[in-house]
């Protein structure tokens, strides 16, 4: 690549506390625009908590407190005065378990548009179609858009959730182990999708699966015990890890 890759969002000495327990310790990590960054590490290492800090999802858990900063477009989004509702529209999220609403397929994808005040039916319909196509689900559901979303398979449901997140045209897409509840074929589809989506979106993905991190990401960050141990290009991190913990983890000696 010739031109410099721009950072879209970064954290500065981010610490997170659940009550007295410190889940994250002074994490400073930049994320490149239109790239996939994978966050890996053993369970409880803080990677999901970190991800949820980036769109203030941790606010929903009572007793959480953060220190440091998350800078998005020059603003610290951890500040109280930030409008989290519009922040979350711009930094979308896909969760570990597919969680479509008990509504129709169409209404699921249209939901984010409707709550953000887009009422024009033809605009909504066009955006629903576009999002479902982006999520590689359109062909499978175009004849049953008004059927319940819960009738889809797990893998389809997760792609629906991705379509739902894409519909509001976020700049960043946070994915919290998006394939961990899916079978290998559905997982493969999600991975292919991630590779396509990074042309347009910045993707930050938490994963337990190191092969997955190696396959989809440009950059990988290794978390351990609430600290950022190592971050680098995925290729380098998996072939020549600098830190011993990283090497132990990726070679399967723990975690």
């Amino acid at each position: 690549m010739t031109n410099e890759i721009e950072t879209i969002i970064h954290t500065q000495d981010l610490s997170l506390f659940y009550g007295d327990f410190q889940a994250l310790h002074d994490i400073s990590l930049p994320f490149a625009q239109r790239q996939v960054t994978a966050l890996i590490g053993p369970s409880g290492c803080g990677k999901s908590s970190f991800l949820r800090s980036l769109n203030r999802m941790n606010d929903l858990t009572s007793g959480t407190r953060s220190e440091g900063a998350v800078i998005f477009e020059g603003t610290n989004i951890l500040e109280k005065k930030i409008d989290v509702v519009s922040l979350r529209r711009r930094i979308g999220m896909v969760f570990q378990k597919p969680n479509p609403f008990p509504k129709s397929i169409y209404d699921n994808v249209a939901y984010g548009l409707v709550v953000n005040g887009i009422k024009n039916r033809s605009i909504v319909a066009a955006r629903v179609e576009k999002s479902l196509k982006q999520a590689a689900l359109w062909e499978e559901v175009k004849d049953r858009l008004h059927k319940p979303a819960l009738g889809l398979s797990g893998g389809q449901q997760q792609r629906l959730c991705i379509a739902r997140a894409l519909a509001v045209e976020p700049e960043i897409l946070l994915m919290d182990e998006p394939a961990s509840a899916l079978d290998p074929i559905a997982t493969q589809k999600i991975e292919e999708l991630i590779l396509e989506l990074k042309e347009r979106y910045t993707i930050i993905i938490v994963t337990h699966n190191m092969q997955q991190a190696a396959r989809v990401s440009n950059t990988t960050a290794f978390f351990y015990m609430g600290r950022l141990v190592e971050v680098g290009s995925t290729n380098a991190l998996f072939t020549k890890p600098v830190k011993k913990e990283t090497e132990d983890y990726i070679t399967g000696r723990f975690g």
Partner: protein
Amino acid sequence: MTFSLSKNRLSGKRGTVQSIWFALFRGAAAINVLALFAVILFMVIQGASAINWAFLTEMPKNSMTEGGILPCIIGTICLALGALAFAFPVGVATAIYLNEYATQGKRVAMIRFAITNLAGVPSVVFGLFGLAFFCTVLKLGVSLLSGALTLGIMSLPVIIGASEEALKTVPNTYREASLGLGASKWQTIFRVVVPSALPGILTGSILALGRAAGETAPIMFTGAVFFTPDLPTSVFDEVMALPYHIYVLATAGTHIGETRPLQYGTALVLIALVLGMNLCAIIVRSRLRNRNRI
């Protein structure tokens, strides 16, 4: 050789102990069905002879020893619907506040304490309270409105409880998904959480309505009267009601013996009304549940 596990029977002493306990539990469950069945059967046997079209559609005649119970049926339906009109919005709103966005602390603990104790207040006390507060202090008099409000307050804990249970069954992942798409808390509650909880909320509320329709004590001082020659035309009218009518005929009338069939007939109508409401609750619930499932 066949070795069958299909019977799934445990042999020996453990098996005997298990079958005895299981039989007891099954028996306990059967008592519920038997009790309902016995009540209905008893009422039908005693009261069916009194039921005819005139009984359901005419006014009482001859000091209530003859004629129909139309004003009681209408009065009870009005009282129950009035109670629901008040208690449903207040109860659901309270449940949403408590479950969705109240900061858990002293204030919420106090509100819960109040609700729990409200549920424990005997119905006759509600009746006296309604008389003192709605009829006298608010000058609403003995009226449909006073009776409905009294019944409504009495139903609040049930509706709040049912609504909270229903809200708790809505998976948190729905809330997270909605908030993650840039929906506000209100939009999340209004568009995702409440629609998902609606079957439970409606079921609980209709059951509460049925319960309220059968109450005597809360309405005997506040809304229901011994006899009125007119059907209610406004919420400030006093009404006759099925449960109070039964009480009156059975204990306070002048011809207690002769009106036996009327008493049972009235009771049968009341039971049919309540069971009908419960049936509605079941239908509403299954309809709503199936709407967005596979």
